[in-house]
Amino acid sequence: SQTIHQWPATLVQPVGSPLSLECTVEGTSNPNLYWYRQAAGRGLQLLFYSVGIGQISSEVPQNLSASRPQDRQFILSSKKLLLSDSGFYLCAWSDGNHPYEQYFGPGTRLTVT
């Protein structure tokens, strides 16, 4: 069966520091991968999605970026965090042939201080 991992589970970072969140999927190959952010008052928002290694699409302009160095690895990064980057970051995957069923990881709680 497929499983999705995210780490760290929680993170407290000062403003201006860099960020790296990691997501990995097991038990499937060539998945579609997604990063969502859940922030207070702003609901759940799709940030990035990827259909393959090195293929990243951005949905929302911001100071975040995403990379997919391996088939089942998806990384969310920032060079300098803002207070507004605080939130709950969720990674999700779907089968490459069935993008309509997305399965979510446990999430990373990021607090920028």
């Binding site: 579609n32 759940l44 993008p99 309509y100």
Partner: protein, 114 residues
């Protein structure tokens, strides 16, 4: 453009009572519809989905939803709730032409009390 509206931000309900969570959407093209549940500090779990076919969809944990195209609604129901159903519930849609980009409603917090 499309939008997803969950009409209730919070729904208090007694244990063993029925519950209905309302969701309306607007879209100029066909959509696929989903309900997700989120327990505190956890990721989202897919409850049920409507892609095509029968408009009454049954999901996990005794939940069901009905797609009403004329009213552009996809309301979620459970005939008898348990304490463990306390969670936040999200309605979501994907446009048929948007490849898999989920758009979520604001969520409905369900609080089940004895």
């Amino acid at each position: 453009a499309q939008s997803v509206t969950q009409l209730d931000s919070q729904v208090p309900v007694f244990e063993e009572a029925p519950v209905e969570l309302r969701c309306n959407y607007s879209s100029s093209v066909s959509v696929y519809l989903f309900w997700y549940v989120q327990y505190p500090n956890q990721g989202l779990q897919l409850l049920l989905k409507y892609l095509s076919g029968s408009t009454l969809v049954k999901g996990i944990n005794g939940f069901e939803a009905e797609f009403n195209k004329s009213q552009t609604s996809f309301h979620l129901r459970k005939p008898s709730v348990h304490i463990s159903d306390t969670a936040e519930y999200f309605c979501a849609v994907i446009r048929a032409d948007s490849w898999g980009k989920l758009q979520f409603g604001a969520g409905t917090q369900v609080v089940v009390t004895p």
